[in-house]
């Protein structure tokens, strides 16, 4: 472990910010301010923050619907994410896509998410292909759930990445459920990491609630990929702490299971570890907490004050052409 104290505190900041925004989104949903569906990443903070933190600026990520932390670490402004949830024109997708979908912005190296799970996976492999073709030394990373591993796209993507030894890191967030479906109904094996052997590259298992473990493992995989060593599959074991989306109260999850994992809360665990190691003083904690609060409140205020999209823009920007809707958006940023 060769992270400096400041780096460790940085990670702490992102973990806290992720949790705070996630909780606020939960609140806004419960207040009826978020229409349609929305997702919580509670319990997944170590995976989204830890893995994204292992990348360089010009690497590319394709996070999924539980990776709020990854979007934040990559620099997507909290206000844009908040505005996105409220359907505002200032959201990343300008009100066109919802919640964690379509939060794409290549200026932050982020590919927007599509529902059809895991659509981002073969696309990320394509990103890795372009890095390999151009010999750029960049790395592509994508996240997906345990459920997504049952799909053809998972297989086609990993297989192809293996054949070409592409610089791609696959982060599987095994949170034990896909909607109401437990992993026992999703695959007949214990560890998804074992499948990597079938694609000719390493698969490893990490504690998905330990941000430093996630970070270390990912960093090693990223370094290997960058050096031409090919892909890695990292299975992060964790637990989905709320329902699939907010409308789902997850009655099907045994209480004991949640209680057990509540003890392993990734944010609290990390906080305690940093306090124990005397990296996180009470002063620093308060300072970070106030930065988190400021960002959060500013984001919400911005989102709430932002206008809804103008219906006159409905049909704009379906196709890309010079001067089109999206070029105007970029120029006005």
């Amino acid at each position: 472990m060769n992270l400096t104290d400041e780096q460790l505190l940085d990670i702490y900041y992102w973990m806290r910010l992720t949790r705070a925004i996630d909780e606020r989104i939960t609140l806004l949903y419960n207040q009826g301010k978020i229409l349609g569906a929305a997702f919580s990443e509670r319990g997944h903070e170590a995976i989204s923050v830890g893995a994204a933190g292992a990348l360089e600026d010009d690497d590319i990520v394709a996070p999924m619907h539980r990776d709020l932390g990854a979007y934040l670490v990559r620099g997507l402004p909290a206000r844009e994410i908040m505005a996105q949830h409220l359907g505002k024109v200032t959201g990343t997708s300008r009100g066109r896509d919802s919640n964690m979908h379509g939060l794409g912005d290549l200026s932050h190296g982020i590919i927007g998410f599509v529902s059809m799970l895991p659509a981002s996976l073969p696309v990320t492999v394509g990103v890795g292909l372009s890095f390999w073709l151009r010999d750029e030394g960049r790395v592509a990373m994508t996240w997906f759930g345990d459920g997504a591993t049952s799909t053809g796209k998972f297989h086609e993507g990993l297989n192809f990445a293996g054949v070409f030894k592409l610089p791609v890191v696959f982060i599987c967030e095994n949170n034990q459920y896909a909607y109401s479906t437990p992993t026992s109904r999703q695959f007949a094996i214990e560890d998804i990491a074992d499948r990597a052997a079938g694609y000719g590259f390493p698969g490893i298992i990490v504690d998905g609630n330990d941000v430093l473990e996630v970070y270390e493992a990912t960093k090693a995989a990223v370094d290997r990929a960058r050096a031409g060593g090919g892909p890695t599959l990292i299975e992060c074991k964790t637990m989905r702490m709320l329902g699939h989306a907010f409308h789902d109260n997850a009655e099907y999850v045994p209480d004991e299971l949640l209680a057990e994992w509540e003890k392993k809360d990734p944010v609290a665990q990390y906080e305690n570890a940093l306090i124990e190691r005397e990296v996180l003083t009470e002063e620093r904690r308060q300072e970070i907490e106030s930065r988190v609060r400021d960002t959060l409140e500013e984001a919400q205020a911005f989102a709430e004050e932002s206008p809804m999209p103008d219906p006159a823009d409905l049909e704009k920007g379906v196709y890309h052409e010079p001067g089109c809707y999206w070029e105007q958006q970029v120029n006005s940023d």
């Binding site: 359907g87 479906t181 809804m308």
Partner: protein, 324 residues
């Protein structure tokens, strides 16, 4: 007759068919203990056991493949796509395997694929689509899209008893927004028969799915203005009830086609071609289409409201047509 929701009608049809025929079984994601994303199959697993209400891995091609294979063995699978949008992930097996099998070597493939479609629920580009036109273009598939509780129940029963693959588009907006009377006795709505939902001599609206309600509301408004609108609910897109459509077209001579799907190359095109071919001499005015525009389904309410056809937009179009 009891009044039930469109959702309940679907649920009841499944239940009764499972009671009637032990070959009928359900497969899909989260349909068992959870009862499905929309709770259509709530309580089914308790009644019928886990082998007749199968929770599947998240793999639409596996689901459709499982349906086809078991159907070839004489079972009557009803597969649920969690949202119609995800049917794109099982596209190949539906259009190439299920659709062509009987033509190619004579074994029927009696599967039903339930596809909860449609928008108006702030569900964004991937949980709001209306992909019926893709399937209606494929020989060997049947495609239905009920608009009322009565039709939802009757068409689902007919679909389950049909020997051919049927894509059953159920509209999510209608689930809880529509209630209607449904007989207590077993009945079916035959696949391939349209229904004139309202008679009128001045204009014809040809529509299906969620737009039937909107068209009927629009017809009310026009009636107040002295224009009698006939509303033809196609109900089955494939095979199409050409006669009912043509009869109405010939009667009024002025046609509006209304659907929730994207405009270009949508189902409206086929309906237009049919009328232009076979009712040409009776036509008194140009075709009017009221549809979604050619953009993905947007999330934000201001955009989705502009996107989705509704009674108001239909009224406007019909007024123009009436004065033509």
């Amino acid at each position: 007759m009891p009044e039930i929701t469109y959702l309940q009608a679907i649920s009841d049809a499944l239940w009764e068919e499972m009671e009637r025929d032990e070959n009928v079984f359900l497969l899909g994601e989260d349909i068992g203990a959870y009862g499905g994303a929309f709770k259509v199959t709530k309580g089914f697993q308790e009644r019928f056991g886990p082998k007749r209400v199968l929770d599947m891995p998240m793999a639409e091609s596996a689901i459709v493949g499982a349906a086809i294979g078991s159907a070839l063995m004489g079972m009557r699978p009803v597969a649920e796509m969690q949202f119609a949008d995800f049917i794109s992930c099982a596209f190949d097996l539906l259009v190439n395997f299920a659709a062509t099998n009987h033509y190619r070597w004579g074994s029927p493939v009696p599967i039903v694929v339930r596809a909860p479609a449609g928008g108006g629920l702030r569900a964004g580009p991937f949980h709001s689509q209306n992909p019926e036109a893709w399937f209606a273009h494929v020989p060997g598939l049947k495609v239905v899209a009920p608009a009322t509780s009565y039709d939802a129940k009757g068409l689902l029963k007919a679909a389950i008893r049909d020997d051919n693959p049927v894509i059953y588009f159920e509209n999510k907006y209608l689930y809880r927004h529509v209630k209607g009377e449904v007989p207590e006795d077993d009945y079916m709505v035959p696949i391939g028969i349209a229904d004139v939902k309202r008679e009128g001599n001045d204009l014809t609206v040809i529509t299906y799915g969620a737009m039937v309600q909107e068209s009927l509301a629009a017809a009310e408004t026009l009636a107040d203005e002295g224009v009698e609108v006939e509303v033809v609910d196609v109900r089955t897109l494939k095979p199409l009830d050409e006669e009912t459509i043509l009869n109405s077209a010939r009667k009024t001579g002025k046609i509006a086609i209304v659907h929730e799907a994207y405009r270009s190359y949508g189902a409206g095109g086929e309906l237009a071609a049919l009328i232009y071919e076979d009712a040409f001499e009776w036509l008194d005015g140009p075709l009017v289409r009221v549809t979604a525009p050619d953009t993905p389904v947007p999330y934000s309410p201001t955009l989705e409201d502009a996107f989705r056809p509704n009674a108001e937009k239909i009224v406007e179009a019909l007024r123009d047509l009436a004065t033509y």
